[in-house]
């Protein structure tokens, strides 16, 4: 940084602005205030040599540089490069950059039962069951939370790690780090108790590019498993009954009666099986099963058995398995293939349900060949009942980067419009309309970010739009889409560390939601007929506002705490994207100009106020210094466009719906008008009454005074008598003699040349530190001592001694003989030495 500032000094006539000196001074200022962090925990404002109109540095030319960039994208010669590790990140994102230390919704545990609790939920559950109130419980809770932090760090580093494995590793690390044997023992005890209460295990899923995909698969497989579990018993019993028919027939057959079979069946040797066989052959137990029936049952059972793994829990939905006659794996990027696969799958499923129905009829002996043969001969998918259809595993289509590079939109819409319950998951890792190199790149949000809106227009597709930062919405939306009896489309912005290199993936994904570039919503046509039933935008932050915002805290150069309200807009998102470097410029603080305006404020300006103003995004650079990043007008256009889209989404989500607002305003105006009339009426009535009463009263008073005057004669009316001045009571003065006596005694005692304080007697009243906080400081017990006798004047010492309520400051002798008014001060100091 120093280097850039140095070069700017050479090329611009910055005269007296010596940046390195400023920097030096700032560093000193910070270290002198020991409470200020120097590690950049709280961002610091750079020193500000504000450019003044007509000053030595030409403010007009600085503004013209800024405008040149804003309007034409031409960068001044002193731009601070903003790339690589030195990249500035938007100010609102700054506090969250150390993501692993913050409790958040990742990692998620993919439990065996299809549940997807977050690590935080699991840990909270464990803690609430083993950490009672009180000291022991509190210690346990702390230990368990330490473990959570450690597991979170580990899961970031270990893709695919299971909770139990990471738990063990984290436990090992913590035990190794324990400072003493006592602490180690209590830590071990806490973790063992927590472990005993841990009821779940599974892979821990951190926020990665494939997280949405993994979560989708887990949620869908879990939903399917739960659905099948309810039906499994009925299905098993049906198969068993059908089997029993065949088994009974088998046991009556000649084969079953032969001695060998009988021996094998009973497993004994004490019997004469030949004889038994002869006896059995003579007995008559009914006709054997007609061949056609036996064959029909057998065929049905065979068909059922082929598909059975799908329902008996041996095959998870979406797994590759050779046990099934069709491929369960999701189709990638090819929508037409999904249609074909669906046809094939439905054909097989129709066969399966046909076999089930036959088995059902057979097992209750209701199959009538005359009617049923014909019915089942033509049985196909159109004969399936709604319940049967719901047990046909839907085809899942996954669209990823490859699809968005060469999109088959016709195929996609044909697929979704066909009405078959296909489930589509689109993983999006780029929200921009271009790659930064094309002609007008930043001004267009990419169409994939609007794809969900287009699909919603089909009106019968369940749509979920969210980013990976909203796992709860993802799980909910995925499950609802899967359960919905029709096509479902889920689109997820996964975040992208290639385009936003400075941000953790989670934050990039969250920023997409927060900036309204990719607002979260759920459209569920199964919930009702109106938009109010179907559409929900509630998962967005501050749904009622144009932009979400927060307070950004930083410190001024002098260490003062400051805050400013900032909004998070698409410009913040773009500024974090390395590809759009041409559209933002981190301005050297030496060139900050009063014409710069925060973007969200700039957007509120009236058109006539805009010329001469340059919008910027507040950011924080890698040194923890507040930065201003000016953006081009294309970025501003993008922000405006996104604001309009968001407005549209608010309306469809029922937030400040303009139709409703207009109606309410009209109704309110009508009511107010009616009320005003009513009030006027009442006022008129009462003011008439009032005037009449006042008139009566005045008349009465005048009459009474007149009659009194007449009756009392011409005596002077009683005048107000001024109250006698009360002599001020003598203030209860404390015995001044006593004080003086004590002081005189002190005077005779030993005097010291150096000032000192009887620190243990200090009552921390702030009097002296308020006079000079370099001369007087508080110690660890918050009691005052002389920190630096040279940091203040003798006058400071004497004044403090006089002010000190417990008289414990002893000013000593003056250090500087040239101090003004010293004679007087020495005299004043005497009582305190």
């Amino acid at each position: 940084m120093e280097k850039e500032h140095g070069s700017s000094k050479n090329e611009e006539p910055f005269g007296e602005i010596d940046w390195s000196a400023h920097k030096e001074k700032e560093g000193n200022a910070i270290s002198a205030e020991s409470s200020l962090p120097t590690d950049g925990d709280v961002p610091v404002e750079p020193s500000l040599p504000w450019l003044q109109e007509g000053g030595d540095y030409d403010a007009a030319s600085a503004l013209s540089d800024l405008l040149d960039f804003f309007l034409y994208g031409r960068r001044g010669p002193h731009a601070v490069p903003d790339a690589g590790a030195d990249r500035a990140i938007p100010a609102l994102l700054y506090p969250y950059r150390e993501l692993a230390s913050i409790r958040h919704d990742y990692p998620i545990c993919l439990g065996e039962t299809g549940t997807t609790p977050t690590l935080t939920e699991i840990i909270d559950g464990v803690a609430s069951s083993v950490a009672e109130q009180g000291e022991v419980g509190e210690r346990r809770r702390r230990h368990i939370l330490q473990l959570e932090t450690e597991i979170r760090h580990l899961s970031d580093k270990t893709p695919g790690g299971r909770l139990s494995t990471l738990w063990n590793e984290a436990e090992k690390t913590l035990l190794e780090q324990a400072p003493s044997d006592d602490k180690r023992a209590s830590l071990r005890e806490s973790i063992a108790a927590a472990r005993a209460a841990l009821k779940i295990d599974g892979e821990l899923l951190a926020c990665r590019p494939d997280t949405a995909h993994r979560l989708y698969m887990a949620v869908v497989a879990g939903a399917w498993e739960r659905k099948c579990a309810e039906w499994r018993n009925d299905l098993d019993s049906l198969v068993q009954r059908a089997h029993n028919i065949l088994a009974a027939d088998e046991s009556h057959s000649a084969d079953a009666n032969n001695p060998k079979h009988l021996r094998e069946s009973t497993g004994g040797e004490d019997m004469d099986f030949d004889k038994l066989s002869d006896i059995l052959k003579q007995s008559h137990v009914g006709e054997p099963l007609p061949e056609a029936r036996r064959e029909r049952i057998q065929r049905s059972l065979d068909t059922i058995a082929r598909v059975m793994p799908l329902f008996d829990g041996t095959v998870s939905l979406l797994d590759a398995s050779a046990k099934l006659p069709f491929d369960l794996q999701p189709v990638r990027n090819v929508c037409n293939a999904a249609l074909d696969r669906n046809d094939e799958r439905m054909r097989i499923m129709a066969g399966f349900f046909k076999a089930l129905r036959v088995a059902e009829l057979e097992s209750s002996n209701r199959y009538r060949e005359a009617t049923h043969d014909r019915f089942f001969a033509q049985f196909d998918t159109t004969h399936l009942s709604a319940e049967e259809l719901s047990f046909c595993p839907p085809v899942v289509v996954v669209l990823d980067r490859e699809f968005f590079a060469a999109p088959d939109m016709a195929g996609l819409f044909e697929l979704l419009n066909s009405g078959i319950p296909v489930k589509v998951l689109a993983e999006l890792d780029d929200l921009s309309g271009g790659d930064g190199a094309s002609r007008n790149p930043a001004t267009t949000p990419g169409w994939p970010a609007r794809l969900a809106g287009m699909v919603t227009a089909l009106n019968h597709v369940h749509v979920t739009q969210a980013s990976a930062s909203l796992p709860a919405l993802l799980s909910r939306g995925f499950a609802a889409g899967f359960d919905y009896n029709g096509p479902a489309f889920a689109i997820v912005y996964t975040g992208n560390t290639e385009t936003q290199p400075g941000l953790p993936l989670y934050l990039g994904a969250a920023a997409a939601i927060e900036s309204r570039l990719f607002p979260a919503f759920e459209f569920d046509p199964g919930k009702g007929k109106t938009l109010a039933d179907r559409m929900s935008v509630a998962d967005n932050p501050h749904t009622d506002k144009e932009w979400p915002g927060d307070t950004f805290s930083y410190r001024s150069e002098s260490g003062e705490e400051r805050t400013v309200e900032l909004a998070f807009t698409p410009a913040d998102f773009v500024v974090a994207d390395a590809r759009f470097e041409a559209h933002y410029w981190r301005v050297d603080p030496a060139k900050w100009h009063v014409g710069m305006a925060p973007l969200h404020e700039y957007l509120q300006l009236a058109p006539e106020e805009m010329p001469g103003r340059v919008p910027y995004v507040t950011a924080v650079d890698s040194d923890g210094v507040v930065a201003r990043v000016v953006v081009t007008h294309q970025v501003v256009d993008l922000v405006r466009r996104v604001a309009l889209s968001w407005r549209n989404m608010q309306e469809s989500g029922g937030v400040n719906n303009s139709f409703a607002v207009t109606l309410i305003a009209e109704e309110k105006a009508r009511l107010e008008e009616a009320m005003t009339l009513e009030i006027e009426e009442v006022e008129k009535k009462y003011s008439a009454n009032l005037e009449r009463d006042l008139g009566d009263l005045t008349q009465e008073i005048v009459q009474r005074i007149a009659s009194q005057l007449l009756s009392e004669g011409a005596g002077a009316p009683a005048a107000w008598v001024a109250p006698a001045a009360v002599p001020a009571a003598a203030p209860a003065t404390p015995a001044p003699d006593a004080t003086e006596a004590v002081e005189e005694e002190d005077e005779e005692a030993v005097t010291f040349d150096d000032p000192y304080i009887d620190t243990p007697l200090c009552t921390s009243c702030n009097e002296c530190t308020k006079i000079n906080n370099k001369l007087f400081e508080y110690d660890d017990n918050k009691q005052a001592f002389i920190a630096d006798a040279g940091a203040g004047t003798f006058r400071d010492l004497v004044t403090s001694a006089e002010k000190c309520p417990v008289k414990i400051i002893h000013p000593g002798k003056p250090r500087d003989a040239s101090e003004a008014g010293l004679d007087d001060l020495v005299k004043r100091a005497e009582p305190f030495n």
Binding site: S35, L92, L93, P95, Y96, E98, L99, S101, I102, R103, H104, D105, S128, Q133, G134, E135, E138, R142, H143, L145, Q146, T149, K183, S469, L470, Y506, L507, A510, A511, E514, P541, P548, D550, F568, V726, A729, P731, A732, T733, P734, A735, A738, T739, V742, P760, L761, C762, T763, S764, C765, N766, E767, K770, D780, N781, K782, Q783, K803, P805, V806
Partner: protein
Amino acid sequence: MFGLKNECTLNTDEEYKTVEDYQGRLARWCPGCGDNGILTAVQKLCRDEQLPPEKTVFVSGIGCAARFPHYMNTYGYHGLHGRALPTAMGVKIRRPDLHVFVNMGDGDCCSIGTAHWIHTIRMNPDLLVMLHDNNIYGLTKMQVSPTTPIGHKTNTTPHGSQLKALNPLTTTLGVTNASFVAQVPEWMPELLFDVIEQGYHHKGLAFIRILQRCPHFMPTLWDSLLSDPNNTVLLRHENGMNVSETLEKVYKNNEIHDPSNLHRAREIAEWDDKVPVGILYRNETIPCYNELKRPERMPSWEQRETVLNRAFDRFGMDPNA
């Protein structure tokens, strides 16, 4: 934002906390105000005991002293005038794991809050109660308080207060079940800290009357004590306040007083001419109301949420209505 709360950063290291860690907002009492010294003593207590800030609550009513919770980096409840004690007792009953402190001024405690004062003493919950007694209403700019000395002029008694001041010590000692009663001035930091510390360790309600200067409205109130050490009587006993040798040399007026002697404590509290400093009475055997009323089972989080929501709904307003 971003689905995150940066204040949720997990910082579970068991760190040693300094006095500064207990400092909340910058104290805005007048320079020279005795409240500053009380604040420091309490912060030192928190540090020495290493009280977890999240397990510590300061409850106050209204007045200068009631600003106390703002200046502690712990939980706090700046409540209604005179109602600090019932609030604190509620906290203690439902959350016996918390360390609960109460800060009241003389107006707050001895005037509008008198009924609560009397009954809370009798209930003897496990609280540390500090009465910041500067004998005046300071926050509202000098009106008479129950402890204002007779003859003192205030805005509401321009001809001087006509009643003899209420004595908080005799009042407290007169209430059934009083279990810890002490008096200490804030300008003797060593004793202030010692008494507060002993009060903190007392099981039951520790009532400490702290004589406090108000440099603005009562600048000369304690002059007799500040100028002549002989007007202060240190109550000393092996079960009482600890006094350092340095103080011993200055404050020569001592009385050996056994804090278990309630009768003598009441006599001492009656003194008009001298000011006793120390622990007047202490009895650890009196049962605490918060233990008698301790819930058998803590409510579940769901139950708490339901109850809270019900309470909030009573006052909730639809912002769009």
